[in-house]
Symmetry: C2
Subunit: 668 residues, 2 copies
Amino acid sequence: MQSIPRALRRALVGKPIHNERFHDAVLPKRTALPVFSADALSSVAYAPDEIILTLALAGTTAVAISPWVGLAVLVVLAVVIAAYRQNVRAYPSGGGDYEIVSKNLGRTAGVGVGAALMADYTLVVAVSMATAAQYVTAALPGLADRRVELAVVGVLLVGLLNLRGLAFIGRAAAVPTYFFLAVLAALLLVGVGQDLTGSLGQAPSADREVLPAAGFDAGLTGLAGALLVLRAFSSGAVALTGVETITNSVPYFRKPRAANAAATLGLLGALSAALLAGVMYLADRTDVVVVGNPEEQLLVDGRLPAPDFFQDPVLGQLAKTVFGTDSLWFYVLVAATVGVLILAANTAFSGFPTLASRLARDAFLPRQLQARGDRFAFTNGILLLLLVAVVLIVAFGANVNSLIQLYIVGVFVSFTLTQAGMVRHWGRVRRMRPHPGVRRELFGRRAVALVAFVLCAAVLVVVLVTKLTQGAWITLVAIVLLSAVMAGVRRHYDAVDAELALQPDSPVRALPSRVHAIIYVSSVRKPLMRALAYARASRPSTLEAVVVDTNAAATRRILDEWQRLEIPVPVTVLDAPYRDTIGPVVDHVRGVRRKSPRDLVVVYLPEYVVRHRWERLLHNQAIRPLRARLHQERGVMTASVPWHLSSAAGQDVGPESAPAPQQRAARP
Amino acid sequence: MQSIPRALRRALVGKPIHNERFHDAVLPKRTALPVFSADALSSVAYAPDEIILTLALAGTTAVAISPWVGLAVLVVLAVVIAAYRQNVRAYPSGGGDYEIVSKNLGRTAGVGVGAALMADYTLVVAVSMATAAQYVTAALPGLADRRVELAVVGVLLVGLLNLRGLAFIGRAAAVPTYFFLAVLAALLLVGVGQDLTGSLGQAPSADREVLPAAGFDAGLTGLAGALLVLRAFSSGAVALTGVETITNSVPYFRKPRAANAAATLGLLGALSAALLAGVMYLADRTDVVVVGNPEEQLLVDGRLPAPDFFQDPVLGQLAKTVFGTDSLWFYVLVAATVGVLILAANTAFSGFPTLASRLARDAFLPRQLQARGDRFAFTNGILLLLLVAVVLIVAFGANVNSLIQLYIVGVFVSFTLTQAGMVRHWGRVRRMRPHPGVRRELFGRRAVALVAFVLCAAVLVVVLVTKLTQGAWITLVAIVLLSAVMAGVRRHYDAVDAELALQPDSPVRALPSRVHAIIYVSSVRKPLMRALAYARASRPSTLEAVVVDTNAAATRRILDEWQRLEIPVPVTVLDAPYRDTIGPVVDHVRGVRRKSPRDLVVVYLPEYVVRHRWERLLHNQAIRPLRARLHQERGVMTASVPWHLSSAAGQDVGPESAPAPQQRAARP
């Protein structure tokens, strides 16, 4: 019946993967690095731009302090990496920040971190694909009006790849990440070499004049200036996202998992720092300028530019400066950047569903988010992420600068709470270890966690102060709402658990005293005979047939046939004064239940099984709502007696085509 | 669970109506006339316009022959009315054209007529509401850009009123139709009076010059001119639609039904003819001009008009001419016309579902179109008509002149086939009656039918020749497709009937030799205990529980509990190498069936019943697809064991709140 969608699904997603092949989905370090680091590494494609264009609000001269802002970001990055290397070793199960906070600060804080990370994974996808679309249009200006479509197609593509499963992604991921690193290394090495030999040129945008925005006419002075520098810093701090991905992904590493993950984290930190430092240095030396709103802020050759004026991103300008404007290197760099941005989105597509699965396992999210699909991917989580990311991209018109305002709030909520949890963790561990050498080592670890906590808390305050009104409030509201939903889901499951738990004195083991079987009759044909046979085979205490009298002639025909065939079952005709078939059956069932409340009522519903979807329009229209309605009644069981219409025959459901069942018996 | 949608439905549609009140839905003549004549009467709001604007393609002078075209339409109208007065008496059951053609010309022709009438009912709704929107914008020019929205809102409104049931519409309908007749009678009487006294003025459009369209520079000469006159005639023939509505609606008349329906038809014919003749006469005398495309065809004060130039419809121009440009009468006329057009759409909303119900009863359409809803309206048919009409209006931008090209093809297909059928009918009846007086009378009736057949066939040829390329091909394709679908549905139901019919030697009475009960286990909690109790109460030959091993820890927990509680039922663990729960259960069931193919397998599925819709996201995700899949298997019955979560308690489903069931026992 579902053969066409299933075939389509197989073509897009691939065949199911057997459990025995799960080890294929576990990654060696050389593959884990590209898969899980793309998010962090790719931020060099937009973090420098955000620092510079934020400072540019205060005019050309303000841009000059951008290297110092970049340095501040690097300091935070170093501290966070150091702290997370400890975290991975202490909590190697893949629960990441959520697990650390839940265990050390309690369930409420844990749920908050879970919600914050989910919000941020979503924004990773949106920001990465919006940035990728921006790079594509830098190389192909004809597509400038198609940024939203490009970004949405990118999200769909990455989502689909993820539905195909991790193993496929893992192998495919290595190439573009290494390619991006190689291209960027070449750019930075050649550029720094030119700088040392004095042959480094000026960026294409170096001669553009930047007009200060309203309120910043005096440059970076006063409180407004200080806040702007902080805002530039908090925009640049996007370079830190992606760190938590590795702590959530420890189970995908080869053993020894924690050690490999910590090593990967260290490598990631070093690479990120080198790339960011190199780009900020060269951007400063070549006087790169980018602004948020070229039509109002920029003077090109002394005039405001046309509305369709396009600014190359910082990496693109550096490529043109170092290798020459018409060099093929520009296009190579764009291709490499787009590749790594796609992988960054991919990182989130592996991190988000893993986290959702973990939250579902702890009953904070619906259970169906918990299960791995037939290709080991967490299918439902992937679809959810895909949907929300597309909505975000469309809502913000794929504008990176707008989306970035929503970003990193979640990351620093999570960092801060995690480090608070780790401070408590190391304190508790230290109290249990009497040995002075161990205690001294643990004191050091606790100190690292404490420094990271203070620093992250400070950054969080800066982010909130400078970005709240810019859009970060949306993220905060989303985090609070999501936390509330998760708490509600947990309460529901807890209540259900309490209700369903078996007490030693549970009376549920008692068998119903009698079984009253009712057969719903709409016509006297073969399906009714089968239902009668099945009902009689279950030997009920009483057995009756009911006919709803919506049509006098049809009812008469049924009763005549009943008599002619001498069917040995009493038949009851139910009045239907409102021409509705469901109400009378429900009323009748209630009447039976009222007479003998301890009995079980079983309603037998003959149902047609058809082969083609369109044929379902022609059958069972009365049965399906009746079954749903009867489910609302207590002490009533419905039994579906299927009749396969011959048009449904020939399907691969017959026993002749079935593969041998795989089972083992366990009789405790 | 569905309490909110149900409450909304009650507020919009009203409470169910008891069978005993059905006679309320039967109409006296004074109400039947407005309900069933609005379609025919309202065509005077657009038929004169269509005649004039079609002729205007050949320039101003061509418009002068419009009264003669109107006269030709009147002749056809008179003959058709005379023929249908006979038809109603001969076939008073309400099957109308469909019944006449099916009985006299066979099933294929009957299906074709059914499809043709369904297409035309849909177009009645679309054309009427598009015209109503045009009149509204004539009075309120500010809404000129909102024609599509106005028409769509009108369709929704009328559809909703019809869902509320016929009785409500019947009483409400009388007022606006009589109002329209009164307003139009006043207009025509005063206008003709002015003409006789020589005080009739010129229409506002009388001094506009009409430029002939390409190909008509020589006016109404040659073949092109002749075809244009025929096209004007076939456009004017829309005045004939609505006749078939009464023949389809005979059951709604008071007794004697056929006589009352025939009398109403006669009255309708006289009124239609008088209105059309009066309007065409006054339009000619006042030199009214309307064209299809003012921006290209019209010279106003010697210049082409602006793109937003608006032409008043003919009725509006006559009101301004007779009563003065600034008279309130213009607005009164617009209000009356919009009212009667809404009722015309309403006519179709009662005719279409009645016809669909008839076709469904004969198994040409899905059975659910057959039943009356809880307010006697044919709910599904109404919703279907509403949807298609909205699609048509949107697709054609509520342009009356475009929609009219699709119109009346169906009507004349139906008229022609019906009269062919009636010729055969009267011939057959006559052969059975030996009395010469009766035979003479029947000869006369047969002659009327024959004349009507020849005339309708001629009109059908004219309509097809002149309109096929203008849009009528869409209607023809729709009729052919719909006929094919209906034939396919009938074939399907026939095949099912043949398959399900009980043969004297049917082996289906045999009971299954043994019943093999399988309980699906996902956790050892109260619902499982209930499922176990219910399954054991049905005393199966064998009883086993199955656990699908998607999670080793969960499986272990279930087996431990099983042992601890000493549940006296063997449990089988099914491997799930692809982490899919459905496949292993199906494979297991097939294995059981293979071992003993004559046994019945019953799979017990514990299901949660929740109160709130959102809670359904949290439960039963695995059960529902499993049940659907098991239905595909032969010899397998599924039994749903509902467990009402306490959040679902307190609903009005408990026996305490149930009304006394209404039933009577019949034990043949």
